[in-house]
Chain length 355, copies 2
């Protein structure tokens, strides 16, 4: 069978090695003659998986001492509520930089717990840039940011330093580039981009923030409770955690963040260079705010759209249709996507030009 170039925005491509090992574990895990998914999560064999996954997050991302790593459930959507519950202090107010649809949803959940104050937004231009000027956050308990905007194709290339704790939804670019974790109080991320399959959500939490909320927190939303139970307060999403662990092993074995950041830069540079060179295409975002994960672009003349669709389909390219709120095309070039797949897409763009 011929290789599919999978540009899906998420759930998305993971390394073939991960698929192979995960597939084997479903049949026979650790030579137990049992499936990974039929053993107790309290068994020694699975506890080792959870601990390796948590440790690999720290090793690969360079998480400093004083942080706890958790693999929970619910996606970033439940994370919006969790971080608000856990970060509210005397002000009962969080500041939010609204850079896209997900950030807007985060504000809504903050307003359930306390107040979500929008300190900057780029909605005036359909989120095609990262706002650089903020209202004061001195009356906020924390500042919430979204590091990468999957739908709109923008990314924060510098993080704010504003004197209040920073909470960051890194769902769509965690593990894609080096990050100074010490600058954040909570990092959280749905797994289904660069970490693993859908079904688990990563939290990296500064221990100092645990147990300090000014509001009552339901049990399952309390990060302090999950931390005290080593991420096993209740039954974890066994398969998603295991596959994430395999993927982190792959990342570490191949060279970690230095290696993947260079590889991701190379892929993004190649694709953006073609978008800027090819007279038929243009990017949708301010150049300085372009995402290295989700590359959004449109045809200047939509009348050649059918021809372009025909060309990329024939090249075994999958998943580049743009999100309905932007239109055009979106190529998600996550960690596991090879440079060859980007070359295939660039080839299709050149072919359209020469048609």
């Amino acid at each position: 069978m011929s290789k599919v170039h999978n540009f899906s925005a998420g759930p998305c491509i993971l390394p073939q090695e991960v698929f192979k090992e995960a597939s084997e574990a479903i049949l026979n895990f650790n030579d137990l003659n049992l499936s990974l998914i039929e053993i107790s999560h309290r068994s020694k064999d699975f506890v080792v998986v959870m601990e390796e996954a948590r440790t690999l997050v720290k090793e690969v991302l360079g998480v400093p001492e004083g942080y706890t790593v958790l693999f929970l459930q619910g996606g970033a959507s439940l994370g919006f509520l969790k971080v608000a519950y856990n970060m509210m202090r005397a002000n009962k107010r969080g500041g939010y930089i609204v850079t896209g649809a997900w950030a807007k949803k985060a504000v809504k959940e903050a307003n359930f717990v306390g107040e979500g104050k929008v300190v900057a937004t780029s909605e005036d231009r359909n989120f095609n840039y990262i706002p650089k000027n903020y209202k004061s956050v001195s009356d906020c308990d924390y500042l919430h940011i979204t590091s990468n905007n999957t739908i709109f194709g923008t990314q924060l290339h510098e993080f704010p330093d504003v004197g209040v704790p920073i909470v960051c939804d890194m769902s769509s670019d965690i593990f894609s580039r080096k990050v100074d974790v010490s600058k954040f109080d909570i990092i959280y991320a749905g797994a289904q981009k660069n970490l693993g399959p859908a079904g688990t959500t990563l939290y990296i939490v500064k221990d100092d923030v645990l147990g300090k909320s000014s509001v009552g927190i339901p049990t399952m939303l309390d990060l302090n409770i999950h931390a005290s139970k080593d991420s096993m307060f209740n039954t974890p999403p066994v398969f998603a955690v295991y596959a994430s662990m395999l993927n982190l092993r792959w990342l570490k074995a191949n060279g970690g963040m230095n290696w993947i950041e260079a590889r991701n830069n190379e892929k993004a540079d190649l694709l953006y260079a073609e978008i800027d060179r090819n007279p038929l295409f243009e990017g949708t975002c301010d150049k300085k705010d372009r995402s290295k994960m989700n590359v959004t672009f449109v045809l200047k003349d939509e009348s050649v759209g059918a021809k372009f669709d025909e060309i990329w389909n024939a090249s075994n390219i999958s998943g580049i249709k743009g999100h309905r709120s932007v239109g055009g095309y979106r190529a998600s070039i996550y960690n596991a996507l090879s440079i060859e797949s980007v070359q295939a897409l660039v080839g299709a763009m050149k072919e359209l030009e020469s048609n």
Copy 2:
């Protein structure tokens, strides 16, 4: 390799066919030359999976018109909070029959949203029976029950009819026996017993109760929002839903609830008969309240414990150590466990007797 008799309390045994098909889908799903876990949850191929899973729940369990089936995340532990949020009405009070550790946790979450009123409890005898007399629930918006108590080995063999909506946590016995769904306003269940792998939680919700809460509900805890988005408000736990669908196909193909209930009765009868016959053992629960899913028993003379452990280990029996709060042994005899595995355990008990 020799067969392991897997009596794990959960995550637990599923049919071999499910492991095989799930394993294959991780490598190549629907002949797409893509893994199940790398495709978009909005793709046609996955939407079909979600819809088949939801439809099979209705078909297999005989869910009447007017109910919505959802596959969400968070386990029953998050369910405790969700059902309280969604079921609170003018009284802002739910009644709770406390039959074990999980029911106690459900009360705690209800007290976060409104009031959880304990209308009956069997804690006086370490939950080894089902209380039959309740306080009045006329001042409650709903009555919450736990149909089967995994830790303590009890099960409700009749459901209360008390004039208020019934909410039931069926995590450990759903799909093990026929149930008249029309008697319940919400049924919910962590998947990891008879439904599928850990990582998804089933909700069967009467449409009439949606959108009627007297309290504000955070987005991800609002069953009405999940229902309005066909169980795809956010990225679902793709693998867990797919494996659950495979398991429901297996159940339907083999004869559905009539078949599995008869098979489960046969297994439970065989094991309890040996517990009652063998002079070395005794059950821990009132006979009329015994669970057909989790069979708890102890040695009358613990000094032969080491010998018994040696015998069952030699028989390739796995997972029968009792929960720490009960001690002794717990044999979980879920749907996919064969009668041969129960025969192996009965054989080990007989072997101890003849030693």
